[in-house]
Structures are given as structure tokens and as C-alpha cells.
Symmetry: C2
Subunit: 249 residues, 2 copies
Amino acid sequence: MRPMSLPVGLPALADSDLVGQIARILMQAIVQGRLPPGSKVVEAGIARELGVSRAPVREAARLLEKQGLLVASPRRGFFVRKLEIRNIDEIYDLRLCIERHASVLAARRLSPESRNILRRQIDVLHRTADLDDPARQVEEDYRFHRLIFEIADNRRLLRLFDDLAAELRMVIGLIGRLYDDPHEIARTHEPLLAAIEAGHPERITAHVDYHIGHAWREVGRLVRELTTPSGNATEPPGGILFPTNGVSV
Amino acid sequence: MRPMSLPVGLPALADSDLVGQIARILMQAIVQGRLPPGSKVVEAGIARELGVSRAPVREAARLLEKQGLLVASPRRGFFVRKLEIRNIDEIYDLRLCIERHASVLAARRLSPESRNILRRQIDVLHRTADLDDPARQVEEDYRFHRLIFEIADNRRLLRLFDDLAAELRMVIGLIGRLYDDPHEIARTHEPLLAAIEAGHPERITAHVDYHIGHAWREVGRLVRELTTPSGNATEPPGGILFPTNGVSV
DNA sequence: CAAGATTAAACTGTCGACAATCGACGATTA
DNA sequence: TAATCGTCGATTGTCGACAGTTTAATCTTG
């Protein structure tokens, strides 16, 4: 968990990044269902529980606000964003929009190296599908799509994708189970890559539409299922961030 | 300026929004050329000059960071974003992407009322063109495009547009002059609206491409002109936020 | 005289405190 | 009884302070 400083290793980084750590802890608490959607995030409470002051907690909350996990209400505080179906639709609508664009750009900039990177990531997807590790599968899936944005080479587009991905990860985390068969998911990336290699904008767009549209419908269906039986946003006992699972802390 | 509370009027609101006020002041300082691109924004300095503490200044800076006017470097502070040509290209590329999408959506959702609103805004554009008020002209131009996003009815898309617009306003403010003939600009909105009314996705896309692409090229040209003669990012004398224009403060 | 080491100043990250504000609850009034 | 008005605790907005880090200036040294 705690990255140790290697003799020459660079990434000893982010150990003193208090804000980042807090943001990650909060994000986990959200996707894992503590801090349920709609619940209030009390700065002082989080700060006390983590043994820090309110300042970094506030900054972390703003970070998560930018990513859409929290919403800020002036003088009232931060709240965990409720996953209304409308939000899901808006997110996927935007994602579809930028992913079409990024895919066409990526096709234009595709080099043999970048092609191989995508190819290899699909292999990873297939291998991960055998592992029965939903979280990992989702992660590798996003990695593939992120690669497309990297190849498209527009930093702003990439940042936007990262933000959307963070939000979608929350949604999927809240859903709790994978929205489809892992092997099936891995397979559907093949024709997308093929279209990008071929470089026909229309074909690329069509495949992106199919691919993302599929996820959209599936996630939408599950969210609708999950959201109709009235969410009881009660706070679980034993501390929000590090709940006592029977074992004392 | 100061909204007074009417007998029954509601909007007496948002006067005590310190962070918002600071953000606005900073934004003005940026677009007006004090705080030139690349210069450092010192929290304590701003705070002292405004007679507030560092906390709200920090929050305002984060707000402007989200809008892309500032960039944060950990442990080094906030800097006014340099307008490299690459940023301009990335911004316009993204804007083109989402504006195509929004325009097609808007066409699908277009009602007689929303059509008239767009129609009327074009009239405003024509009238404003006679006023010889570049800032106003740019503002009304953005209002037209924002209306398209409102009609498209995706809040996230709208928010994204607002962020991009804020950044583009900074760029245009730094350029200092309008990038084209106001009347010409007003006229080019006509065929775009016509295409949206007709509802043909291809025609809409083509017109958006032409319209935004034109601005892209123009702004790109001016920025290239402006950015090549090496920016000397020295700090103007007399206080950054309220420079003494000969008159003592 | 230039490159590197050293010192001093400036600044950010974080903290604890206080006042203003919000929301809940109970008292008051019609 | 229902609606309105205070009151009180909880929570945010803002402040000033301090420590560690970065940057700038100064001093060595080859």
C-alpha cells in the first residue's frame, strides 16, 4: 500500500500527496457503498476520522467534485452524487460523442507501434476474462479505451475521458456486478480495432456506436433496476471510511 | 451592481459569494493582460491586495483551474496558462466535436419556441454588430452557441461548453481585437440555423465545421502572430488586480 | 569568470479557531 | 391542528499561524 522509496526509483511520489490520498479514500468509500448516493460528506467528520485538518479534505472534495463524484451546495456542503438515470444517459451521450471523435483521430494517427499496443491490450482483455475478477476486467477495459484517446493525442480530450471514466467506475462499482459477460466484452473490441486499422470514419463511428451503445443500454438497465426500489441513504455504523468489520481498529 | 431585495423579488442572492467575486476579479486581471500568461499567481499576494485570507483565494484559483485559465503545479503554486498554439488547437478540436453533437441533438429537439429563440438571437447579433463593441459582440456570439447546447438538453455537455467558452474568452481577450468582421460573423449564423431547422445531420455537421473551423483558423492565426515574438512575462507595476492608473487608490 | 555549494527569502501545504449560516426541533399563535 | 417563529446545535466559510519546500541571491572554488 505504502510506496517505499527505491534506491533510484522515481515513483516514490504521491506519498506526501495528502489531498490525493484523501481523494482516493473517499472515492473508494463511495464506490464501495459506504457514503451512499445522496449522503452528505461532512468535512470535519472525514478530517477527524483521518486525523487531518479540514483543509486537505476540502481540496479532495473539490477534486472529486470536478470528477463528478460529489456535488457542492454552497453553505450546505458536499453530497455524493445521486445516480439518476438522466445522469447516466448524459454521461454516455457525451462519452459516445468524444469516443467517436477520438477513434477517428486515432485511426488517422495510427502507427505500427500504437496498433500493436492496442492489439496487445485486447489480448490482456481476453486473459483477464478468465480470471473472474470483475474490477480488474473493468479496469483493463478502460485501459483499452484510454489508449485510443492517448493515440488520438489531444490532452484535453484525454482528461475529459478520465473524468468520465472515474464517474462511470463509480456507477459500475455501485451496480456491484459486471454488466455483461467478460469474454463477450473482450471479443467486441476486435471489430472496433479492425475498423480503426481500416481507417474508414463511417465504419469506425458505427462500431463505436455499437460498442459504447451496448454498454450504455446495459448499464442503464441495471441502474434502472437498482434505482427504482427507493434508495435508503442511511449511514452505516462504525465509521464511514474504515468501518470496523468486527475487528477493532 | 448590488442587487437590492425587492418586496417580492427573489434574486437578492449571491452577493456574499466571496470566492466567486475573487474568481471574477482574477479572470478579469487575466483577460486584461495584467497577470500575463505564464506568470505566477501568488496566493498571499492576491489575498493581501484584496484584504482577504488565502483560503478563498485558493478556492477561486481552483475554480479557474477547472476552467483552464490557471494550471496548478504541486508545491509551486498556480500559473496563468500559457496560450500555446497546441492548446488552442486542442480546445477547438474538442469544441468542434461537441458542437457538432449538440447541434444535431438540438435539431432533433427543436420546437417552434426554441427555433424563435435562436432566430431572435441572430437578430441580436446583427444589431450588436453595429455597436462597435467587440466584447459585447463576442458575448452575444457565445450566447447563440450556448442556446444550441441548452436546446440539446444535456447538462453535462452544456457545462463543458461553458468551460471551453471561458477559456476561449480569455484567449480572445488576450488577442485584444475581434478576429473577424462582426457583420460577417452574424451572417454566418444564418445557414447554420437553417441547417438545424432542416434537420439533416450531414448538413448540420458541415455547417458547424465551416462555422467553428473558420473561427479556429482565425484565432489560430492571431495567436501564432501574438505568441512568436517571445512573451516577456514581467509583472506590471502598481498592484496586479487594481493597478493605479495614475490615480491613487 | 563560470559552475557549484550555501544561505536567505518567499511561498505553499496544513493546522486549529471563530463567526456566520443552515437545519431541526419545539414553542407560539391563529 | 396547522402554520409560523425563535432557539440551539451542527457545519461551512474564513482567518491567521507555522513548518517544510521551492526559488532566488550570495558566496565559494576551480
